[in-house]
Each structure stands twice: as structure tokens, then as C-alpha cells.
């Protein structure tokens, strides 16, 4: 049986979906979390039900691309997706606004179960709903009260679904608007007059179903006044971010060191125990260090999403969206760009997709083009490695750490550059329409720890699984490129370098390192890197960094895995040397270190601006239905990254 889930934005549809299907679809307390329909299934007494969660909409008449799907499905009863039963989720604390969509669905004579959700919040606001009266208003429909966030009402809802008999209930259906025929998508006047008619009906019936008890102004509104204040709001937000980044540095380092050491030991163990040969080398120098380069960042990714999830669960993130809108408006940006840009802090892909809520094409395009400038979680591995490499571990003002402040500054740089570039693009691509952000401030509530852990688990799983496969494949190819060269060039390099060092009074380690370097330079990877070197030399990078930059076009986090593989092939010492120490020891021909403050900061700036993500480019191509825009994005972000890194290197050298 096909069941569809409809409702206004922020009524807890995704929570109802998760409660029924047991799936873990992302839930959020700001609009735009569900921009695609999502399907799942569940069983009641061996009968299978398919549940589809549609994007939130205030009316069946769409205002944006993501809402169009609801109109198309509901107005075409011959469509394969037309539901056999619809669940319309109402926010119990915002019943008046929610009844518009509910009345439209009812007049379409769709088998309907009305789910009155968020009953806890309504109760706290002193709102009580008379469910029997609500049922009388919609004869033939079932009415169920739930609090899907914590699973209350699940049994009631399952029972209502399994016992719902439309054939029997059909006769009871009446009409709210007589002879209702939905307006066409472009018949705006007809849509407005219908909406007005429905709203007057709602005004009339609402006092009969909803009772508001006098409630005192809670601490909620006082807190809100501070959190969205033009000065305190931003200061609190900055302080929260600083604290989050401090925690990431303070707590992640111990498990990270343990993981790093484990992979190093595993690599050494394989080297010692496996029979000598190329495949053994591939395992110990290619695959294991490559995987280690991904796994090591689990603690940081987990901590980042732990904090983001808590901020979202408590309702604070919606306040952030509100104060960010205040910054964006003077820059002439569309209010609806806020959610896509904020989503891009986790990952640019959902950010680009949620730009569908912006109805004006040019506004949407600008948002899509700048969204990848927001620092996503894939940048975390690169940022933390490079910060640990070149930024000293020093306290600032006694309680902040310099590394945490630098990490915060990189996030701020991403945001500022996204705003500035959007402002410039807005001047070039002139837009006619001005969109406004409509945001319901959710109540403050204590975080649901189950949701927090689910978010952390899912994000880490996606990071390991999606990025891990690419990193593993690239590590294998890099190892092959680093281990083989054209003809007998590697053997020749070994022979020549051995002859060169014969007369030198170097230690055995230094001699081995020299020979390994000479061999690496003559490998396919060395040739590739050396060809690239003149282009990246002005930025302070050597050819090994160049190869890692090249491979990280697949995904940013590949950079770390690539460095791990390159240096594992290159390293010949018997000591256990962690990647960060290997990088610190890396020297130029003149004996000066490669990773100086100037080089490290130049690399950090490069990763703030560069479009190093194949998946985002693919999504941009899909969303814009053209090659032109992803290529333009790749070019402008590339030029920006190159020039800003060059500037950073010159200033700090």
C-alpha cells in the first residue's frame, strides 16, 4: 500500500517518517531539510506499506521547485505515485497555519489520516487541541495525536493506518469548498481567492478546536532576545564556534595518535611478516597508510557532528540561520540562501540541493556557485593536519589555543568569501526577484541523545564508506605510480645514486633516504609531479604536494591519504615515524624545511578556496542541467585559490 506524508515545513514529517519506518532520515528544525522525496517501508501484520516523505509545503500550490512535486502528485490521480492513503502532519502549536494544506487535501477526496504532531510543544505553550472536534471538521478522516520525536503515538498511528477503510469512509466525506477543482499551476488569481476562502473558514473553526490558556512569557523569549540580538547574538555564536573548535583539538588528539600508531604498527608488521614482493609492498606502503589517512580523522569528524547535532537539536541552529540572514540581506542576498549555505558547513552536496527552495533561477545559481566556499567537513582532515604541522600549540588569553583559533579563522574566511563573491556575482548576474526567509523558531529543548548519536554515526559511516573507497583506490594507483617508472629508469636512478653516496660519510638512514628519493623522482609519479612543479612552485609547494593536490581533485580528504602513501613509499627509516613527523622532517635540496609557516598557510588558504570535490561538481551539473556552470565554478574557485595562496605565501615568506 502506498502512503504519502505531507505537511507544512517544520511539522516533524521526517520524525514521523523515521518513527514508522525505523529509518534514519535526517531531521532538522529549519525548512529545506527534505528537498527530495524519500521512501521507506514498514509492515503491519505482514502487510507491507511504502511510505514516501514529500518536501514540506504550506499549500498544494507550489512557490518553489521542491514544492512542485507535491502539486504534481496530488493533482494527477493517474500517476504511479498517487497515494492510496495520505498522512498529513500538523504542528499542534501552529494548527491555524497548518489547516490550509489539510483542508486542500481533504477537498481533493484523498484517503486521509490527520497526524497532530508536536503535542508536547503545544502543551508547553498552553495550547490544547480537541481531537474529536477536529475529527468532526473532517468527517471520514482519522485523527491521531503524536510526539514523533520521542516515538509517542506510534501504536495509535499504526492502528489507524491498518484499520483505515476508505471504501467505508468515502461516503462520510463532505466538502469545505463546494465543487472544489484545484487551480492550474499558473492560475495565481484563482489560487489566491481559494486560499482566502479557506483562511476565512479556518478563522471560523479554529476557536472550536483549539484552546489557548494564558501562559506567562517564558525564559524562552528572553533567551531569544539575547541569542538573536544584533551584537550579543553574533558574539555568542562566535564564542560557541571557538569553544567547539577548541574541543575538537583538545579531545581528538588522543584517539588520533592511537589510530596513527596502530596503522603504523600494522604497516610495519605486514612489512616484516609478508614475503618480500610487490604485492606485500602495495599492502604495507600503499593500502594500509592510505586507509590510515582516512580513519585517523574519525575522532574529529565525529566531534564536529556531535556539536553540530547538539546545536541543531536544542533549536540554536535556527537562531544562527536567523542572524546569518541579517548579515546577508544588506549584501543583497536572497534570504533563502541562508539554509543552503549553512548546510554546506557539513557538506556542499545537500547545500547545493537545498538551493531548490529558491524560486528565482539566478538567485539559486548564485547560491549554488558560492555554497562550496563554506568549509565542509571534508576540509577538516586537511586543515587539522596542516595546522598541527605549522601552527604552534600555544595558549591565547590563557584559555584558547592558537590552533583552535586558526581553525575558526579558516571557517570564517570561507563564510566571508562566500558572501563577498555572492555579492559580486549578484552585481554581474542581475536578479529581479527578492526572496525572503520564512523561518519558524522552534522551541528550545534538550537534545535527544539518540538523534545526536545517530547523526554522528551516520556522518562517520558516510565519511568512511564514501571517502574511504575513493581514498583506497587512489592510494593503490599512487603507490603503483610511485613504485614503477618508464623502462629501467628506477634501477638506473638507484645505481647512480648509490655511486654518488659511496664516498659520503652519511649514516645508513641518510643514504637509504637519498636513494629512495632518487628512485621516487624517476617514477611515473615523480615525472608527473616534476612536470607540475613549475606551476605550483610560486605557492611554495614541492612536487609531492603537487601530486597530492592533483589527486585531491577527487575529494579534499584524499590529500592526506595521498601524502601518507607518498611518504610511506619514500620512507626507509626503521623507526616508527608518524605522518606528521615525516612531513616535519621533509627538506628541500638546500636543507631548509618544506613545510614552513608560509607553505602551510598557503596550502590552508588553497583548500579554503579550491573546488576539490568531484561529487559536488557532479551535483552542480545535475542541478544546473549544464556543464557550463560546474566548469565555471571549477575555474573561478581555482583561480581564487591559486591567487590567494600565492599572496599568502609571499606575505608570510
Amino acid at each position: 500500500m502506498k502512503i504519502a506524508l505531507f505537511g507544512n515545513p517544520n511539522t516533524g514529517k521526517s520524525s514521523v517518517f523515521n518513527m514508522l519506518t525505523g529509518l534514519r532520515q535526517q531531521v532538522g528544525n529549519f525548512p529545506g531539510v527534505t528537498v527530495e522525496k524519500k521512501s521507506g517501508s514498514f509492515k503491519i501484520a505482514e502487510k507491507e506499506y511504502t511510505l514516501t516523505d514529500f518536501p514540506g509545503t504550506y499549500s498544494i500550490y507550489p512557490r518553489t521547485k521542491d514544492e512542485e512535486v507535491v502539486y504534481r502528485v496530488l493533482t494527477d490521480s493517474t500517476s504511479k505515485e498517487f497515494p492510496e492513503l495520505a498522512l498529513v502532519v500538523l504542528n499542534a502549536s501552529q494548527l491555524k497555519r497548518n489547516l490550509l494544506l489539510c483542508s486542500q487535501l481533504y477537498d481533493l477526496k484523498i484517503p486521509l489520516i490527520i497526524v497532530v504532531n508536536m503535542s508536547d510543544i503545544a502543551q508547553r505553550k498552553g495550547i490544547s487541541i480537541d481531537l474529536e472536534k477536529l475529527k468532526e471538521l473532517f468527517p471520514g478522516c482519522s485523527v491521531v495525536s503524536t510526539n514523533a520525536r520521542i516515538g509517542i503515538g506510534k501504536d495509535r498511528l499504526l492502528k489507524a493506518i491498518s484499520t483505515f477503510d476508505f471504501e467505508q469512509n468515502k461516503a462520510k466525506y463532505s466538502s469545505i469548498l463546494s465543487n472544489f477543482e484545484p487551480a492550474n499551476i499558473d492560475e495565481l488569481t484563482k489560487q489566491v481567492s481559494e486560499t482566502k476562502e479557506r483562511n476565512s473558514w479556518i478563522d471560523k473553526v479554529i476557536p472550536t478546536i483549539q484552546k489557548n490558556e494564558e501562559t506567562q512569557k517564558t525564559g524562552q523569549s528572553k533567551l531569544d532576545r539575547i541569542l538573536v540580538h544584533w551584537f550579543w547574538g553574533y558574539l555568542i555564536f562566535i564564542c560557541i564556534l571557538l569553544v567547539v573548535f577548541q574541543f575538537i583539538y583538545a579531545f581528538a588528539s588522543y584517539p588520533m595518535d592511537a589510530i596513527d600508531l596502530t596503522f603504523l604498527n600494522l604497516s610495519n608488521y605486514l612489512q616484516e611478516t609478508l614475503p618480500e614482493g610487490v604485492f606485500s609492498n602495495l599492502l604495507s606502503q600503499g593500502i594500509v597508510p592510505g586507509i590510515g589517512g582516512v580513519v585517523i580523522f574519525i575522532p574529529q569528524i565525529a566531534l564536529l557532528f556531535f556539536f553540530i547535532s547538539i546545536l541543531e537539536e536544542t533549536g540554536y541552529l535556527s537562531r544562527v540561520v536567523f542572524i546569518m540572514d541579517r548579515i546577508m540581506r544588506p549584501l543583497g542576498l536572497n534570504g533563502k540562501s541562508v539554509v543552503p549555505l549553512m548546510s554546506s558547513v557539513a557538506c556542499a552536496i545537500p547545500g547545493v540541493m537545498s538551493a531548490r527552495t529558491i524560486s528565482d533561477w539566478r538567485e539559486r545559481l548564485i547560491t549554488i556557485l558560492v555554497a562550496p566556499l563554506m568549509s565542509c567537513s571534508a576540509r577538516i582532515p586537511v586543515y587539522t593536519l596542516l595546522i598541527a604541522l605549522v601552527i604552534p600549540d600555544e595558549p591565547v588569553f590563557g584559555f584558547f589555543n592558537l590552533r583552535g583559533i586558526v581553525l575558526f579563522s579558516l571557517y570564517a574566511l570561507g563564510l566571508i568569501s562566500a558572501l563577498v563573491i555572492a555579492f559580486i556575482l549578484k552585481k554581474i548576474i542581475r536578479t529581479k526577484e527578492k526572496g525572503f526567509l520564512v523561518l519558524e523558531m522552534p522551541e528550545f529543548k534538550s537534545p535527544r541523545w539518540q538523534n545526536v548519536w545517530i547523526t554522528v554515526f551516520e556522518k562517520v559511516r558516510i565519511f568512511i564508506w564514501d571517502a574511504g573507497k575513493v581514498i583506497l583506490a587512489i592510494s593503490v594507483i599512487l603507490w603503483a605510480l610511485a613504485s614503477f617508472g618508464p623502462g629501467n629508469s628506477i634501477e638506473k636512478a638507484e645505481k647512480d645514486s648509490n655511486a654518488q653516496i659511496a664516498s659520503k660519510s652519511w649514516s645508513e638512514d641518510e643514504k637509504n633516504q637519498f636513494v629512495a628519493s632518487a628512485k621516487l623522482e624517476k617514477s611515473y609519479m615523480g615525472i608527473m609531479g616534476k612536470t607540475l612543479e613549475p606551476l605550483i612552485e610560486p605557492l611554495g609547494y614541492d612536487w609531492k604536494i603537487g601530486v597530492s593536490l592533483l589527486t585531491s581533485f577527487a575529494a579534499r580528504e584524499v590529500f592526506v591519504g595521498s601524502l601518507a602513501t607518498i611518504y610511506a613509499v619514500h620512507d626507509t627509516s626503521d623507526d616508527n615515524t608518524l605522518l606528521i613527523n615525516r612531513l616535519k622532517m621533509e627538506k628541500k635540496v638546500d636543507g631548509t624545511p618544506i613545510y614552513t609557516l608560509a607553505t602551510g598557510c598557503s596550502l590552508l588558504v588553497f583548500y579554503v578556496f579550491a573546488m576539490q570535490c568531484m561529487s559536488t561538481l557532479a551535483v552542480v551539473r545535475r542541478e544546473t542541467n549544464s556543464w557550463k556552470w560546474p566548469l565555471f565554478q571549477l575555474a573561478f574557485m581555482g583561480v581564487l585559490a591559486y591567487s590567494m595562496s600565492f599572496l599568502t605565501f609571499v606575505l608570510l615568506s
Binding site: 521547485k65 512542485e68 557532479a618 551539473r621
Partner: protein, 46 residues
């Protein structure tokens, strides 16, 4: 010899995986947006 064959298989598999991923991302008609309702509705409009 076995080790060389294993390396050849692993490197080929890695190349195939990345190539397939690239193709699916950018050129495949049935990409991961199968569930993308918006795209479907836009197709219908067209």
C-alpha cells in the same frame, strides 16, 4: 609472479572503480538522483 598478478588485479580494480565512479557522476543517465522527485516533475513539465 603471483604477487605481480595480484598487484595488476588490484591496480586494475582501483582504476575501474574510479573510472566507473567518474562516469556515473558525470555521464550516466541513471545517476544517483533516481529518487529525485523534483527532476522527475521537471521531466514531466518538459
Amino acid at each position: 609472479m603471483i604477487q605481480v598478478i595480484l598487484v595488476a588485479i588490484t591496480v586494475s580494480a582501483a582504476l575501474f572503480f574510479l573510472g566507473r565512479k567518474f562516469y556515473r557522476h558525470f555521464f550516466s543517465k541513471t545517476n544517483s538522483c533516481e529518487g529525485c522527485a523534483v527532476a522527475k516533475s521537471m521531466e514531466k513539465t518538459a
